[in-house]
């Protein structure tokens, strides 16, 4: 397994590099550059030239890339070409916010969806199963910004129970924090759990076709025990995989939720970076996203191995 992890990490590093090249190429294809975006309508050829010179944007692209790569390898993320802030400073707080939210969402949604998925699998065809199946189907079938806006209008504007925008100010008390991120938390739990409930249920029902499940039935084992003891442990691999992908989504893909709730997270920062053509910022975000993805997938594979005695004790 060690070998596998090391191998996967090496492949992950290659993937990171490919991502950096890909992002660099795509970012340089965008119309305009950071100077023309920052100066905007007020740009003149002279101020553009001055801005580019001041920020090292007048060097050939390939130099810029290798300059960035060299710094990156030494752990220096560079300086934003748009505002002059250190990329590290821009990212650090937001990474924390993103991880805080993603962590809480995972903490709630993973047990919840595994439990509900098991529940649905335990009583297939009953009203519990049907309402869960249809409910999750409906939730994954509408755009998430619809769900988010709808939730704001009901919970914040109409009922006034929760703040419409998220706040994670460091001076807040825990209770304020909890209230402050309740809305994005609720929306993300709904969006993510819907996926995971469906996959858990599907995974369990898939295993239910196995001969060993038939054997368990023929041994007179109760359905509940069949699901929880016999089927679930053999479904952990795929379920962990789905969880990993959803966690990766929570770290990198929640632009819409961050925008609607004005939650200062990484995904929105990346979008801002693209929109200002701030290459070092976009690259840094891309590295984090890609790295998170790689790490989560490796962790999922390790978890799958640990959950599977055949892989755990090869003998």
């Amino acid at each position: 397994m060690q070998r596998m992890v090391i191998q996967r990490i090496l492949i992950g590093l290659v993937t990171l590099w490919v991502v950096s090249v890909l992002v660099f190429i795509m970012t340089s294809l965008l119309p305009g550059d950071v100077a023309s975006i920052v100066l905007g309508q007020a740009a003149t050829p002279e101020t553009l030239a001055a801005y580019r010179a001041a920020n090292g944007l007048d060097q050939p692209l390939i130099f810029q890339y290798f300059g960035w790569l060299a710094n990156m390898v030494t752990g220096d993320l560079g300086v934003s070409k748009a505002g002059g802030a250190k990329i590290y400073d821009l990212i650090a707080g937001r990474l924390g916010n993103t991880m805080f939210l993603a962590g809480l969402v995972a903490l709630i949604s993973v047990p919840l969806s595994v439990a509900l998925g098991l529940l649905a699998a335990m009583y297939p065809g009953t009203w519990i199963d049907r309402s869960l199946t249809f409910g999750t189907l409906a939730l994954i079938s509408v755009p998430d910004f619809f769900i988010a806006t709808f939730a704001v209008l009901i919970l914040a504007v109409q009922l006034g129970w929760l703040p419409a925008i998220a706040s994670v100010a460091p001076e807040n008390t825990f209770w304020q924090m909890a209230r402050g991120i309740a809305m994005p938390l609720i929306v993300l739990v709904i969006v993510v759990a819907a996926q995971m409930i469906r996959m858990t249920r599907a995974g369990i029902l898939n295993v239910m076709n196995s001969p060993y499940i038939e054997m368990a039935i023929l041994k007179g084992v109760r359905r509940k025990r069949i699901i929880l003891r016999h089927a679930f442990f053999n479904t952990i691999g795929p379920i962990v995989n789905v969880i990993a992908l959803n966690l990766a989504y929570l770290v990198s893909g929640v632009v819409i939720v961050e925008t609607i709730f004005a939650y200062p997270g990484l995904a929105k920062l990346m979008i801002d970076g693209v929109q200002t053509r701030d290459l070092p910022l976009v690259q840094a975000c891309a590295m984090i996203f890609c790295g998170t993805y790689v790490v989560l997938i490796i962790m999922a594979d390790v978890a799958a191995i640990l959950a599977n005695p055949r892989l755990r004790n090869p003998k």
Partner: protein, 547 residues
């Protein structure tokens, strides 16, 4: 006028109309001009007279101290900056106003009053301005404010290395000279009476001599910045050592909520006190919700469709005329802007510029027959318009134009492009595009920026030497009638042109108000029309009623 009780007063006007009347009067529009404008909007002579007579500014209550204020702008990101020269958006300007001061301060009527400059005056031909600086003013880091700081600040707007966005506004200042520790002089290239008002705009906030890092703000302003997190939020606390009776609230938190629906939700649910950029469609909702209200300031800001004059189809005068005649200007103001704007007359100077507005110039109207006639004459049947939502309503205006164009047989294709990158790649580079300009402190500055023959931002690359000459000449003219005549001519040149000189190629169907919203608990927001929430002046003057 016999029975004033039956006549409408200023209070009976809608918010927008009221604004325009008040602003126009403040800016020195004559009674006659305002009445002409009112009558053009359908008022009778008697009613118009009555309204003008009753117009008066509201009394302001005494501000209270204390409390916190949370403001949400529309845009922010990693490019948020505390460098005044690079300030871009409302959020930058608002932060700048919190922590810095200008030499001069612009009043609601666009006149100026002293700020860091205690006194300022020009020589008789307006070619040299002297600023006497306030003494005893301290920066947040405790250092004293001196002439060196002013010279350093101003030097950042000059020269090859300058990235200042306001570089061109002060291009006619030849040199800044330190006279003594608290006196500076601006030597002009030519006469310019407008320098003090230009120096009151946000980019000319005074920074400490030698500042190169802008991750922290070291200003002289009413608030000290304790937290600045680009794209997230900033927090300012009251500067207890401010040189005058400054900020009213204890703390200002500035953030942005990009999504307009979310931003309004935040205001409606009480999570923020003040918001920038209210969608006109939401006005009814805000007005009908207790506890919140709109804050609309009439301005000269405008929407423009630019037909580049150096290429087809913009080089075809008839095509431009057709495009101008299909504009449903009243419908735009009423329906798209929900009344929060004024019709445009294809030139930039509306009534908000007061006396410089030319009310004599005939208002261009929606006339499909004329449009059809000109289109036929132009021989053009299709065109592509590049549209970005540069200001709320821009796309809707173009969509409306597209429908109208269809009626006269013009296939106006609309190519929607994203906002980012628009100014660099689309604006002034494609034959038909759109533009929006905020109001400038004077009509001269406005036209000089966007219409002068050598202006870097001449939207349509239109060259009219006569206009250029008038712009320079008018700066030195002191006679009001003469000045009005010259400004009228300029507006006519831009909008109508003459037989041998085509007009600018700009279609300006409407001017928009700055429409923002606030909680009723916040008072003290001004009405200076150069930007959102009273020209970004609110940080020093806003106060809470509930403390």
């Amino acid at each position: 006028m016999t029975d004033s009780r039956n006549l409408p007063t200023i209070d009976s006007l809608s918010g927008a109309d009221r604004e325009i009347v008040e602003t126009g009067l403040k800016r020195g529009a004559t009674r006659r001009e305002v009445m002409t404008w009112l009558m053009a909007s359908g008022a009778t002579i008697a009613a118009a007279g009555s309204i003008v007579s009753s117009a008066k500014t509201a009394l302001a209550a005494t501000p209270k101290k204390g409390g916190k204020l949370k403001f949400a702008s529309d845009l922010h990101g990693p490019s948020d900056t505390l460098d005044p020269g690079l300030n871009t958006s409302t959020i930058d300007y608002s932060r700048g106003r919190s922590v810095y001061n200008s030499l001069t301060q612009i009043n609601d009527d666009l006149s100026t009053r002293p700020e860091l400059a205690e006194e300022y005056s020009a020589n008789p031909d307006n070619t040299e301005w002297t600023f006497k600086l306030r003494k005893g003013v301290k920066f947040h880091d405790g250092s004293n404010f001196t002439a060196d700081d002013v010279i350093y600040t101003m030097s950042r707007h000059y020269g090859e290395k300058s990235t200042s966005k306001a570089k061109s506004l002060v291009a006619d200042v030849k040199e800044w000279k330190k006279v003594d520790s608290h006196t500076v002089k601006a030597i002009m290239k030519g006469p310019n009476a407008d320098l003090p008002v230009i120096l009151g705009t946000p980019h000319f906030k005074i920074i400490k001599d030698g500042t190169t890092e802008f991750q922290k703000a070291n200003g002289t302003g009413p608030y000290k910045m304790t937290e600045f997190n680009p794209g997230v939020r900033s927090i300012c606390v009251r500067n207890e050592h401010y040189w005058r009776d400054g900020g009213n609230v204890d703390l200002i938190e500035v953030t942005a909520i990009t999504d307009p629906v979310a931003r309004l939700s935040a205001l409606l649910s009480g999570d923020i006190d003040l918001m920038q950029g209210l969608n006109p469609k939401a006005i009814k909702k805000v007005e009908s919700t207790p506890g919140v209200g709109i804050w609309s300031v009439a301005s000269g800001a405008y929407f423009g469709i630019c037909a580049m004059t150096n290429t087809s189809p913009g080089n075809n005068r008839d095509f431009v005329l057709a495009l101008q005649h299909i504009q449903r200007r009243k419908k735009i103001v009423k329906s798209i802007l929900k009344g929060q704007g004024t019709v445009g007359n294809d030139h930039p100077i509306n009534i908000a510029y007061g006396a410089d507005h030319c009310s004599e110039l005939a208002q261009r109207t929606h006339d499909l027959d004329k449009a059809k006639f000109h289109l036929k004459k132009s021989g053009i049947t299709s065109a592509e318009l590049n549209v970005a939502e540069v200001a709320p309503g821009m796309t809707d205006i173009c969509l409306l134009a597209q429908r109208e164009a269809g009626k006269i047989g013009l296939d106006l294709k609309i190519k929607k492009v994203p906002n980012d990158g628009y100014w660099g790649a689309v604006w002034m580079k494609t034959p038909l595009n759109v533009v929006t300009w905020n109001m400038r402190p004077t009509a001269n500055v406005m036209m000089n920026l966007a219409f002068a023959p050598d202006a870097p931002w001449n939207d349509t690359l239109w060259k009219n030497e006569r206009l250029g000459k008038l712009l320079v000449e008018s700066r030195g003219v002191k006679d009001a009638a003469k000045r009005h005549e010259m400004y009228c001519e300029m507006q006519k040149i831009i909008s109508v042109g003459s037989d041998d000189h085509p007009p600018s190629g700009m279609v300006i169907p409407a001017h928009r108000n700055y429409v923002d919203a606030k909680s009723d608990k916040v008072e003290g927001i001004g009405r200076m029309p150069l930007g959102s929430l009273g020209g970004y002046e609110w940080p020093e003057f806003a106060w809470r009623t509930d403390v």
